[in-house]
Symmetry: C2
Subunit: 427 residues, 2 copies
């Protein structure tokens, strides 16, 4: 863990090194993925079944790819009531939040009667990738599927691998709660390929979202443009800004809640209190003793964690914007004032009583957020990712007469005479 003091000499350079430090894996899987995409594109189901046999060690027939209603029923019956209640609370709150995000159409008319505007419509079909195996996250199902359904997507497909035939009942229960229409037991780049190109069994979709390993991420990258995708996601990160009113043991848990995701996750604390900085540095090792994810969390904290002291909270603002963190927690007495000055962050958690984990699950805002400083230019997942805007124009006779000549003039100047002709022939 790195300790930095913003008033020390050489800080700018050391902070800049921290900001620029790449944590994303540089393993190039692009050739392997290109091969898989090509295979599924050419051979459809046959490729899918063969790759599933190879990677997930299960033998499925084409008509066994879809997870059945009976399997869904069985899965839901298996979920403990308190877990089901928690999922239901989460689903309801995520739905309410995202319903407010549905973008509005617009229309305006100029003084000559020319009408312009736009309309939003949902994509026909969307696909959600949900990882299987070790880390299975029902919350990811809710966070990806609910915005799609709120957008009005009629056909929502989920793909998730079932390595060695293992399925997570919670993931299936979440899919049912979120209104997923079809689920297939396939994973990896081959599942993404099936969603994009379609196979005999799986009809193609228009947008693919959801988390995944390096192969899944690279498959989405290569298919970007043929389908819409959510984003290029990297390892998770949190930046906690705290003042002396914050509790060191609580902050330690907050920091580790990101660190436990991944050895290359990053947790950073910025504080104007030297005492708090020391207290948190001491509290983290104590907190590690309480968690079963200790090995991963400790590795992340040791290699990528940082505690930075600043003379005044306001001095944190340029540091926040430079880091453009995925998660920004403002554990300070007056979070609102600080928030107003921040420009770049994926999602902000305000005040002493707002741990980021609340937002991961039940608060409502989406937990799919831009990582690796991408909050400088991109947003978390939202309803608009499953919709598109169609602009329109309707000229009145008077309006055409008013603006047509300028269009013809510019078309001629650009060397596009047919453009000009299509205007002048209407005079």
């Amino acid at each position: 863990m790195l300790r930095l003091d913003a008033s020390a000499s050489g800080f700018a350079e050391r902070f800049s090194t921290l900001v620029e430090a790449g944590r994303e894996a540089d393993t190039d899987v692009s050739d392997a993925v290109r091969g898989i995409l090509q295979r599924v594109r050419t051979d459809g189901d046959a490729a899918l079944l063969s790759l599933t046999r190879k990677f997930d060690r299960i033998d499925v027939a084409a008509d066994g790819l879809a997870i059945t209603q009976a399997e869904m029923d069985a899965a839901c019956a298996e979920v403990a009531p308190d877990l089901m209640a928690a999922l239901e609370l989460a689903a309801a709150r995520i739905r309410i939040f995202h319903e407010a995000q549905r973008p509005a159409g617009h229309e305006q008319v100029d003084t000559d009667g020319n009408r312009t505007g736009w309309r939003y419509t949902a994509v026909d079909a969307a696909g959600v990738y949900i990882p299987g195996g070790r880390a299975t996250y029902p919350s990811s199902v809710l966070m990806n599927a609910i915005p799609a359904k709120v957008a009005g997507v009629e056909r929502l497909v989920m793909v998730t691998p079932t390595p060695d035939g293992r399925m997570n009942p919670l993931v299936l229960a979440a899919a049912r709660l979120a209104g997923v229409d079809e689920i297939y037991r396939v994973g990896g780049a081959q599942a993404v390929a099936a969603l994009a190109y379609g196979t005999e069994t799986i009809a193609p979709v228009d947008v693919i979202t959801g988390p995944g390993n390096a192969y899944v991420a690279e498959a989405k990258r290569q298919l970007y443009g043929r389908v819409g995708i959510d984003m290029v996601a990297g390892p998770s990160e949190i930046l906690v800004v705290a003042d002396k009113g914050a509790d060191a043991d609580i902050l330690a848990a907050d920091l580790l809640s990101q660190a436990e995701h991944d050895p290359v996750a990053q947790a950073i604390l910025i504080t104007d209190s030297a005492e708090l900085a020391d207290a948190v540095a001491a509290a983290v090792p104590r907190a590690l003793a309480h968690i079963s994810t200790k090995a991963v969390a400790a590795e992340s904290w040791d290699a990528h964690g940082a505690i930075i002291t600043v003379a005044a909270l306001g001095d944190a603002v340029p540091l926040i914007d430079a880091l453009a963190p995925e998660h920004l927690a403002l554990a300070v007495a007056d979070p609102e004032t600080l928030f107003q000055r921040v420009r770049h962050a994926g999602s902000v958690f305000m005040g002493y009583m707002t741990p980021e984990a609340i937002g991961d699950y039940v608060a409502g805002p989406n937990h799919t957020l831009p990582t690796g400083r991408r909050a400088r230019f991109s947003s978390g997942l939202g309803v608009a990712d499953f919709m598109k805007r169609t602009t329109f124009l309707a000229c009145s006779d008077a309006g055409f007469a008013a603006i047509g000549p300028a269009a013809a003039t510019l078309a001629e100047a650009e060397g596009l005479p047919a453009h000009a002709l299509s205007v002048t022939r209407r005079f």
Copy 2:
């Protein structure tokens, strides 16, 4: 040019072939582009100057990369008054249209006092690529730069090659009108690399938009994720739906206004009038005689053009959605009814008096639109492309007590104990 009759046997298959026909060049420039990006990333200005010498045949020093105010003044003085007036009209109308697109923030409070919402902020810096040489489009400057400035982008950079030292005064005049802050005389993949990585002279930007050749497009594709980009653009296309009230000679000009862009551009007419279909087929060759872009337009129309007759206008709707055209012109008596049924189109031009060319220049809506059936899932360029959404959450004490337990339950179920700890430590 292909003639199809929707009521003929075998139509579905032939139409499907038309829809699936790839018109995008398959030349793989990815290795060449990768090399150029790496060179600029490593060597900065030196690489930029050397590549500019090679590709644009001009010798520029680093301090000569920026186009000066004096050059801007000279360019503007050179623009004829009627052209300047047309540019000004276009700029004003594009600005008004896009100002209505500025996305609103939102805030909602649940019954327990938990506050959630989002805020939009502009990216710090954006770069616009404008092609030089043969096809120089001042309208592209307006269409890319104005939405960025409306979004509130403080630093707007334009790059444009000046092959053999040639600059287009109209492009510079448009840049001044649009409020571009910096302009550099560089082009190609090297210019895109400079915008993304920065050099000694050109500071990096967060978002890169604008049209370009295969190298520029591939450079943007490879840099997607490091910066935001507008879209993967392919050859232009128009789908005109017309009824018997439309004029065949005018429609011919409308079709050719896309065909003249590119030999692989596509113009398609759908009509419920067999007479009109024949009349347009005869009118296109006549119209070709009037335009200096005849060679390109004829090649496009011959190879990719189509006229499709349908029994009733309503039958056009599924064909429109399948084609998901960049431009959809509804040259019919009642365009509104038809438009209400369409799901997938980049931009719609309604009625007999609304040629697509009006929208290319002066109407207001953006002319940067999704091509190659991407209107199924993506939108034209807009203000939101230069902004990002930061969501937020502020729990009240009562609100935390109400939803915290569910978050802890789900965190434990997902095997993330530090997440749970960050909640339970606050109880």
